[in-house]
Subunit: 308 residues, 2 copies
């Protein structure tokens, strides 16, 4: 009953209108696994350099994240991302990216990783994603994330990879760019026609939507009066979504809907502080309380009208 994530473990430097952090634990696999750890056992496949220290490792250890497949290259440096957000916190401006050890990353899966029940292919080169997907033929559910960069420079490989997964998790701009269809509902139908059973479209402050061949589910975002640092919100969402699913016996539509809520709950906490700071110190009670808040803010009675 375990969950595997393949992705980056990084050091981020982030500037927002509210503050600045020069070096903190980041990367898709970090945000994903810490978020998922509240719901299930999670393992990371990734790579770090000699600058990865006990301080970072202790965060994973504290959350029971299995890092046996996190490769260490003592002579190399960990992936670094430098970003800035202006008052429009929806858009990240990349100031610098230093791939370092990540440039030659070749995911290596141990036997334990290969037998994971659920797998999340974080936002890495689509050939690598496909390579991992082929090593987990018995996984019950495989999901992937991607980004505009891969749509631009590795489109064919990405389409190939999408064909082989069960769930695609992207944002609305990416869905439009990937399909070249401006209407989101049509774009979603197009992506589903390529093979995946489900598509999740993240819409930032507007929430998220889940599309399957014959259903549509849409939820708002948790209403936050201030967003401090949105870095990693998407991976934190995916971690909550996949982590919750991993805790469930049946991966049916009803479970996916609840997983959408837990994903949104985790993402809403993520943006309240720098990096993984807020999600690191959550309690199950806080998570469930915000889950209930989602029910409160979306519920209405189903009473048809009748004109008097």
């Amino acid at each position: 009953m375990s969950l595997l994530v393949v992705g980056s473990v990084a050091f981020d430097a982030v500037e927002t209108p509210f503050g600045k952090c020069e070096k903190m634990l980041g990367g898709s696999a970090s945000h994903f696994s810490i978020s998922a750890s509240y719901f299930t056992d999670v393992r990371i496949v990734g790579v770090v350099g000699g600058d990865y220290s006990e301080a970072e490792q202790s965060v994973f250890d504290k959350h029971g994240v299995d890092t046996s497949d996190l490769e260490r290259i003592p002579n190399g440096k960990t992936f670094r991302w430098f970003g800035r957000y202006d008052y429009d916190l929806n858009t990240a401006h990349t100031l610098d990216t230093q791939l370092n050890v990540f440039a030659d990353f070749q995911p290596k899966l141990s036997q334990a990783s290969k037998s994971a029940r659920l797998v999340f292919l974080g936002n890495i080169q689509p050939d690598l994603q496909r390579g991992v997907r082929e090593q987990v033929p018995n996984a019950e559910l495989v999901a992937l994330d991607t980004m505009n960069l891969w749509i631009d420079i590795a489109r064919e490989s990405l389409l190939q990879t999408i064909k082989g997964v069960d769930v695609v998790i992207i944002n609305d701009a990416e869905a439009r760019q990937l399909t070249e269809v401006p209407n989101l509902i049509k774009a979603a139908r197009t992506i589903l026609s390529w093979g995946p059973k489900a598509l999740i479209v993240k819409r930032g402050e507007y929430g998220a939507a889940l599309f399957t061949k014959d259903s549509y589910f849409a939820i708002p975002a948790y209403p936050l009066e201030s967003v401090f640092d949105p870095t990693g919100a998407g991976d934190t969402f995916a971690g909550g979504f996949m982590g919750y699913l991993s805790s469930q016996e049946k991966l049916d539509e009803a479970a996916m809907r609840r997983a959408m809520i837990f994903g949104s709950v985790m993402a809403s906490f993520n943006v309240e502080e720098f990096g993984t700071a807020r999600v690191e110190k959550l309690t199950p009670a806080e998570i469930n309380e915000r889950f209930r808040a989602f029910k409160q803010m979306t519920n209405f009675e189903e009473i048809p009208f009748q004109k008097a």
Copy 2:
């Protein structure tokens, strides 16, 4: 148990990427009243010119809309709006506006209009809205719509008017512009602090949200694969919202939530054809079917998680 709307009755000329219509019934009061007529008895206060004919009148008659307070100026011309939408159907480009008889519009309320239980102040000059509001002191609920033009050129008057109403219905860009607060949740709190009991924020393809002092309710838009003509969607929403409320005895939070859904249902029909064409020929069964679809697409089970 009646509903009053004050607003424009107009002739619209609209170009979209899908077609062109040179002259059709439009204006806030038209879209609002036809939409509301499915739920309640509705009356219009407005003004038209000599070019307003039996063809237009028969639309209102067919829907039982009371036009006794629709002033006719035989020597004048009806308000005309010329607009264009590009492939981004979210933004209307105004090509020309001819106010005509609307330029000197002074709303005149008969005794029957003054005793309406619910009142909707369509998007007209805020001084006029306030003048109407003062003539319906016993109305149980008064709502208003406005637009960027009035925020730009009549801000103080608009703020004054907002203080005196129960519900404000605007879009998200207007909420931000009105308050000069970029975060929508904070902007909403600001508007509520001025006096209204409720604020409805329309978010186009992302749905709508209802804010009160101590609650938040958010719904997606109905997922449409094609939008044909968005003209009047906002007023059609308001018509469904106010029309449904008018059919209810208790105007409480639960009724407002259902009214949000009926408003969204009506707006989703509105955009499927030019002008009022689609909404004119609806059946109660179609409306209730789409209402049920909203329940389907927002429902999830409230089961807290517990890590195994």
